[in-house]
């Protein structure tokens, strides 16, 4: 249902944003993009 999709999308986006902004997320991103962390 649309309602379920909407709620799932918001929950998922929250976790994606939180994880990407966390230290672990930054490390993972840095590994993927082969970027050196400061």
């Amino acid at each position: 249902m649309l309602v379920d999709l909407w709620l799932f999308a918001i929950l998922a986006s929250f976790f994606v944003v939180r994880v990407l902004h966390s230290k672990v997320g930054e490390r993972v991103l840095a590994m993927i993009t082969k970027r050196h962390l400061p």
Binding site: M1, V3, D4, W6, L7, I10, L11, F14, V17
Partner: protein
Amino acid sequence: MRFVPAILANLVLIFVAIGYGSVLWPLLPRKLTQVDRIALILLGGLGMLGTLLFLVGQVWFSRAVIIASLLPVVWGVAVVIRHSGPMFTEIRKLRPPLIPAAILVTVFAVTGFGGLAAPTGDISTPALKNDSIAYHFLGPRVWMRDRIIRPVPDECLTAMPAIVETDYCALISLGGSRAPGFFTVARLGILLLIAAGLAMRLGASGSEAWWVVALIATMPVVYNGTTGGFVDAIYAGYVLAGLRILFDVESRSSWILLGIFGGFAMGTKYTGVIAWAVLLACAFATSAFVLKLKWRITLTKIALATLVAGCVAAPWYLRNWALLGNPMYPSPPLLSHLFHAQYMGEQAARQFQVEVWREGNGMGRTIWDFLLLPLRLTVHPANFLDGPGGIGLVPLALGPFALLVFRWNLLARIAGLFVLLQLGTWFITEQDGRFLIPVLVLAAIAGVAGWRYVQGISPRTGRALAFATVAVSILYGVFMIARYETDNIHSVISQKFEEARRQEDIPFLASFRFLNSNPSVTKVLFLNPDVPSYYSQKDYVKPFGRWGEQVLPNASTAAQALSQLAQLRVSDILDVRWAGIGFEVPVNMPGVTLVFSAENQRVYRVDQMAGLTNARQARVKRPADIF
């Protein structure tokens, strides 16, 4: 033991507020619940006490005056004893569900412990800017020392309406410098009471109202605006009280009450003027579409409420007009063309407006930015002033479904109009997360209504996802609040940590300790605009404020201020190297002697004052504790 006075002072203030507020009892609409009544009486009482102290303080503001103003505490205790039976019966009927009740207990416990921490902080750099130290607590300290309530000339923000800050005077007078911080518990409690009353009036069950308050209490933006010296929770309480009264407005007395709370909102923050305009628009809509009154009657009622609001708020604005040349000081752009204010020149006033505009820019001001606000406030809250931590997921995830739940509810439509106008005016003025608390309260109410709707149409997946959304919002909020309060709680538990924190957070602590403990120091000259004068227990002169205020008419530089030492009658000078400004007192300057120095800080004794200090010292009363 060092925390007991702060806790007792808060208890006394609550009973005093009930004592004053009970005067409003006959004006309360009959349909109000006990929860509404408690909230309105507490808010009304705090407003009355703050306004009374302000009025008396224009002439004389001693500790005796403050204590005398607290005498209604006896009446407050009597009112509580008399009405406690029916109140507890109704509150018991609300049957708190276990989870939100546990969350609230946790938040209040953390808030209570953290609130007992001694205020510390810096005012120099934007990242560390601490409004509590800069002006919320500075004003009360200076007013009590000077025994009169006057704007502090070197800190223009102390000229703003200050109902809550004058209440702080009572708290500091009774319970010391920790008492206003502990008042966070009361501020949060009052906001949650008014929120619960509004939620139930909009159709929430008792259980749902508990979830609403749990969601509000764990919104980091709301919490940030409630802690320290911030007055935004009480301000939001006044605005929402106006809306709540509007929902059950029934007679002339209700319109008067609406005006009283609108006046208190304007007496708490300048933004109360905008909020009053928003409330008036809602009053028109209520009168026309809910009460279906004729236009002439509508205009009469609204004129009455506006007259009352104007009278209640007038003292603050008239005082500024009389003393500073502008009813709103520091001036907003529209008024700066009409009035020329003292202390702040045109350039400083313009610079202040530019700074407010820049800081309150949020993520932009186009129509597109406005439409994206719900998403951005949820996902990128840190891009807004005082926004870090955010508002949780519920307003965005579940709030939109409230449009379906409330589509035939006239009162909810009025609330919707309020949200739209309040959000719009916030968007085009200063986008500060704290200023949005009234909207966030209604967003939480909408979120819980939407939750109910989702449970109805999607009993399995939707129910689980909605619960997960609420759980994530609350848990993340509790985590952020706990992180925010960690250092505060640590400093309450450990005196060693408290001292380490002072050393780290209070600039020039060594000099302040030297000046405060030295009986020969009577009046200090602070040359650097970013020295936090809150920490001075001694009288002081600060020729330049951090917003470009120029206190001495003939001194636009430090050298010019130093040439007037004799007229300033200062006994000491605190000269610092700080915030990009070097030492100002020349080496070997005649007439001054270096008596204390530490890293980036020097204290000079003004020699010609030596004969005067002992005589003046007798007239200087040592204020309440800081260190």
